[in-house]
Subunit: 529 residues, 2 copies
């Protein structure tokens, strides 16, 4: 009917006939990210749509387990239950999923144990664990096991049952890096709570575990700070804001999915929006950045973090860029003159003072790499250096004993739309770091979704599927995903995972488009675009 | 932090300061689509987060009402309930929403009564209905009233309560057209069930009431037909299919939201995919379209509609375009020779035969306009002509006594990305039809989301916000939305509605981009992009 159909007709005849008989490459393991160790067999097992949960261990009774099981049950049994005749129930191979959680410690912090063991096998009189079994040290490990279990389950359209192919499965799994992050920027464009939750949910599918929430920047200040009620007057509008309760809600929603929220308040540069509510914070009406160092110190240290205490892990991220520095140079404030400081001195003073206070509160300072590049020797040794400018920074940082997060903008800035999935996939946080004790200081990496040109309408397809490529890089063993031809070993699996995201309602974009988030160029299967 | 920030800095300073104090134009009514009649006042009423439902009337006990209320309560009270101190509860102005449904007839068909009356006012000892009250003849009218009620509710970030501004509200509302459709094409790209449900949910926000499900086309055949189990071998892959139960599930999901599903099986052209499972249906291996007329008649009439019986309203849509006709001309089959028919004769024979059978089953045939353009005098008078090729067709159709659906591709084909929101908005189904009895024959219109270049990753932002522009055109009074400067009267309201969609998790694109579904060009508020 569509005018375009005549144009695409000849092309699609071939594609269609070719693909209709396509099968998955049976030699690959369609679990994303790839587990550390897995073995499979040749059985096909059916899963009861009334699958029930049995728990064990000190941590098994957690609501995190119960809620997680409920979520995954909905995902696994998406097709209407009318598909399953009642009389077939008795013959399902898998009727119970048992989850054993050894510890009842639900603290979610950097390095929380995410390892798990997953077993799926045919009912067997001799087995004491039987059917489907997840064992983990923590609830968070169990959640990772649930995700893997859900990826083993596939709806079979012929039998209209959920089946697990290639059973028995024995999977022993844990992440390579403790920190596997995604940055969301809610200053350049406000993201509604619902949308942030959708993204958190999708992160859990790829086993990412840190939402780095870049709440505030120069364009808008959406967060409520109770003691300074005018600050969020810097929001774009009065409807584009987050209350303290919203922040709690998001942190709790993330925690239920084993995801840590690291809240960032970007200072002293990138903070123009603060002055909308408190114009005194601007050095002058014509020079709005960076904020007056003395005033901002008072504000930030006494009050803003009160609002952020909701966050499980609050990091201090201080930032100064050329832009800010230039402004500062143009307009030296009285404070600088009084203290006989250059702008560079003041920046350093600010960062170190903020670090001290963070440390005194038991927090870990995470600094964008500029502070390391400029005055590494002054930084507190507990500082985590967050790389972004380019390659080789983590190597330098860990050589000086600092921990490091890898976000090389050439590969892991998701707003760089011209980076194809395979460049994202191949970017290696340990590149150039050969000493194992130094390797241990690289705590992980993060893909960054800067939001200048990504609002609610496009943010998810800008994140996915490329964030998944980084997620496997950070979760799976380096040797398992770095050898061979990734077009054969990873690409079909990433296509499969992209379609899995789509089925779960996540609008992940075609994998192999020339630019990220481009629409498909013509009709075709999800599995080939 | 992002490299782009320096480029956008100077621009954003101005925008930000300008917008931060922006207020809505208080003279406009921020309800989309605009109600037929409404009056408002100057009160601000708070709504209890524990808002309870009271029902009345013969139809009040329906699960459609109960479920609808539950859905809208989640939408209205999206912010964490921690925002509402318990001791404030007693002072909320609106504690109960009463819904009275006069009829218990829940049949959902063309012309089902969607009118409603909505009242919201401060508690008043003298009022017998009080607070918040919806009255409707049917459950579907009540759902429209619930949507309007939800749009009156706004979360106020200062008081942290949901408030209704400009009360008391008296709204008397009904749609201008009975048929307000959206076409989804699941052949060019398969849409997972979850995604179809997301779209149905979003349709209800704009009071659209028909999902025209273009299930099958030449590229793929995703639907199960139980008696011909090989037909869905024409799906792209074995995971891109709909079971009969899925179809039931979707139809029921839509019905709960007052949305009719009109299933389309496009024949005899656009049906190449049928032959993947049954190669005999193709005229020959090298000529795959259109299907052999004799064979397809048998198939379609005996079996396919069995699968479609799940649909509340099954329409027959037959289609032949130039492409198909050309193929047919190139390869005259034995059937044509046996029956001494030209290809045109055969096409006409097929359509009329299908019409007869549809009518005999009590269905209403809806034909894409080609049948009307080619042999209008032969068509059954109950035929509904579905316009798509261009302007003036509905005028011709109603002049001959046929009913008509307006989908002029120059304005209402959503895959035409270069049509701006205001062209969509101004397209008028009654254009050129002045006689009121003829106007009555235009049952409505439909925006069409052809899916050659729209898959799960981009379908929603291609639909929204432009489908909303058409939705208001079809719902609201012509004179109310056609006069004045729509840049002042409609655009700010559409921006507001787009942001409402975003808040509800629907990735509606910026309103005023040069091309549909383009990302925003820079940082800004949702309300200005």
């Amino acid at each position: 009917m569509n005018m375009k159909s005549s144009l695409t007709l000849l092309l699609t005849i071939c594609t269609f006939l070719l693909y209709s008989s396509a099968e998955l490459d049976g030699s690959l393991t369609y679990i994303w990210p790839l587990p550390e160790k897995s073995s499979s067999g040749n059985d096909t097992l059916s899963v009861d749509p009334e699958l029930s949960l049995a728990v064990g261990g000190k941590g098994g009774d957690s609501s995190i387990i119960k809620d997680g099981f409920g979520r995954y049950k909905k995902i696994i049994f998406k097709h209407s239950s009318k598909s399953y005749p009642v009389n077939k129930r008795s013959v399902f191979d898998i009727g119970i999923l048992k989850i054993v959680v050894l510890s009842d410690n639900e603290e979610l912090q950097l390095g929380a144990d995410e390892s798990y063991f997953l077993l799926v096998e045919k009912r067997n009189g001799q087995s004491i664990i039987g059917e489907a079994y997840i064992e983990a040290n923590t609830v968070y490990g169990a959640l990772r096991g649930l995700e893997t279990f859900s990826q083993l389950c596939a709806f079979d359209y012929e039998t209209k049952t959920v089946q697990i192919y290639k059973a028995p499965w024995y999977i022993v799994d844990k992440p390579r890096f403790a920190y596997r992050g995604l940055l969301l920027d809610t200053s350049r464009h406000y993201l509604p709570i619902n949308v942030i939750k959708q993204i958190i949910e999708s992160m859990s599918y790829a086993k990412l575990n840190v939402l780095h929430w870049h709440i505030i920047d120069e364009q808008s200040f959406p967060l409520e700070v109770p003691s300074y009620p005018n600050l969020w007057k810097g929001s774009y509008t009065k409807w584009e804001r987050y209350t303290v309760e919203d922040a709690y809600d998001i942190v709790n929603f993330a925690k239920m999915r084993g995801i840590n929220v690291m809240a960032e308040v970007d200072i002293p540069g990138h903070a123009e929006s603060w002055g909308a509510g408190y114009p005194d914070l601007w050095p002058s009406p014509s020079c709005r950045e960076p904020l007056d160092v003395a005033k901002i110190l008072l504000l930030i240290l006494l009050e803003l973090y009160i609002a952020c205490e909701a966050m499980i892990m609050v990091a201090m991220l201080a930032n100064g860029n050329c832009q800010s520095a230039r402004y500062l140079r143009m307009k030296k404030g009285a404070w600088l003159l009084d203290h006989n400081m250059t702008t560079k001195d003041a920046y350093q003073y600010f960062v170190l003072r903020a670090q001290e206070i963070a440390i005194s509160k038991g927090w870990t300072p995470v600094n964008w790499e500029e502070t390391f590049n400029t005055f590494a020797s002054k930084l507190n040794p507990r500082t985590i250096v967050h790389n972004w400018l380019g390659g080789g920074v983590c190597a330098k940082a860990v050589a000086k004993g600092f921990r490091c997060i890898f976000s090389n903008q050439g590969f892991w800035y998701l707003d760089h739309l011209d980076v194809p999935w395979d460049d994202v996939y191949k970017a290696e946080p340990l590149e150039g770091i050969n000493d194992t004790s130094m390797q241990d200081l690289v705590i992980g990496g993060e893909v960054c979704m800067w939001a200048e040109t990504a609002d609610t309408s496009v943010v998810q397809q800008t994140i996915w599927p490329r964030a998944a490529a980084a997620a496997e890089r950070m979760w799976s063993k380096r040797e398992a995903i770095s050898s061979g031809n990734i077009t054969l070993t990873a690409l079909p699996r990433l296509h499969y995972f992209r379609c899995l995201l789509n089925r779960r309602g996540v609008p992940a974009a075609p994998v192999t488009n020339d630019y990220a988030r481009q629409p498909p160029t013509g009709p075709a299967s999800c599995y080939e675009q």
